[in-house]
Symmetry: C2
Subunit: 236 residues, 2 copies
Amino acid sequence: MNLVLLEDEDFIDDDHVRLGGRRFDHITTWLGKDSGDSLRVGRINGRLGRGVISAITCDSLTVEVHLEEDPPLPLPVTLLLALPRPKMLRRLLRGISSMGVKSLYLINSYRVDKNYWRSPLLHPEKIREQLCLGLEQGRDTVLPQVVLCPRFRPFVEDDLPAISAVTTNLVAHPGDGCIFPHQPQLPACLAVGPEGGFIPYEIDKLREANFIAAHLGKRILTVETAVPALLSRFIN
Amino acid sequence: MNLVLLEDEDFIDDDHVRLGGRRFDHITTWLGKDSGDSLRVGRINGRLGRGVISAITCDSLTVEVHLEEDPPLPLPVTLLLALPRPKMLRRLLRGISSMGVKSLYLINSYRVDKNYWRSPLLHPEKIREQLCLGLEQGRDTVLPQVVLCPRFRPFVEDDLPAISAVTTNLVAHPGDGCIFPHQPQLPACLAVGPEGGFIPYEIDKLREANFIAAHLGKRILTVETAVPALLSRFIN
């Protein structure tokens, strides 16, 4: 936790928050903070700054906050990600959020196990929880928007044209196409398939939607390794 | 498993291997292969090719192999990685191996928990197991070399000069230095600190050893996200 993320309902008045639960435990036990100590804080979808602990009880603490810094600029990449298996999704949501992606579409693909769409992890509150952990890691406050698209073809034909109209559009496709550009023009839209990759029909549909297939060399990476590796190419 | 990795002791003669255990289970149950089916195979530290299943018993299978392809070129990056916590080390070893790194130094740092050095995961056999899983993922056969360096200063002063004499030397250092280059000159040597980063003394020692501090933007990434993101910059 490189930043204590503040929810609107934590605010007692404009300059004070009361924190309990996970954040209380983390701040007092893990960080070993006490009354008078200072913390890095940020308000969800708002500004960042410092907080000073003004009071501690057995299960909550009051922090006086001064929020004077803007959050870091978003990574201007819209990510289309074939829904990964739940355990991996949890880590991916945190990683993607920590890297500054603000727009994520979880899409279907032939090789996505249908059961993944029934995972309790896809509940908006569960997704938000992982995204917040990513923001705390990356010292950011702006929550990414996540859209679930459980049907591939309607998504690509009906929704994608508007999403990708003015972006550099790339689809990660091991073993085919060109090498993934080192510094693609921004903003961009990046599609990443499931383990095993998109099937040829899906790649064709993405090509029709003006996506260029590109790879990161001969090796086949897990989605978990590929996503940070691909997003890194967009960081300037 | 995008490749079935063959050990020297699997070979019955020059063209045949017998496989049991994890690989037998994976091939028969997970991949659903049967007699006559073909597999992608590779011999550890050797060549890659196709195998055809010539016989199956209840707990082993015999495969006729034709190894005619060279393994992919190594990623010419020597990685110095502050020893991460064991659970993360396991995933990192797989990821690093799948990305083609062939030389990994696990080094000490002030913020590395001393207990990590006593983890059973550091046993050579356990390390090899994770590296092999990474090779199977990345379709490679060449095992990375891993060196344990439990003392920071002797490593940097005595060993590092020879390791980094002719390489582009970069140390990942969030919030300081320049932006991490998009296409650094190769071969390279990359140092990555622990969660919380290298301490200033360690950064100074690395700078004395001709390392340039560079970051991937304002955000602070976990080591697990940072390593693939950084290595990606070297893939051409």
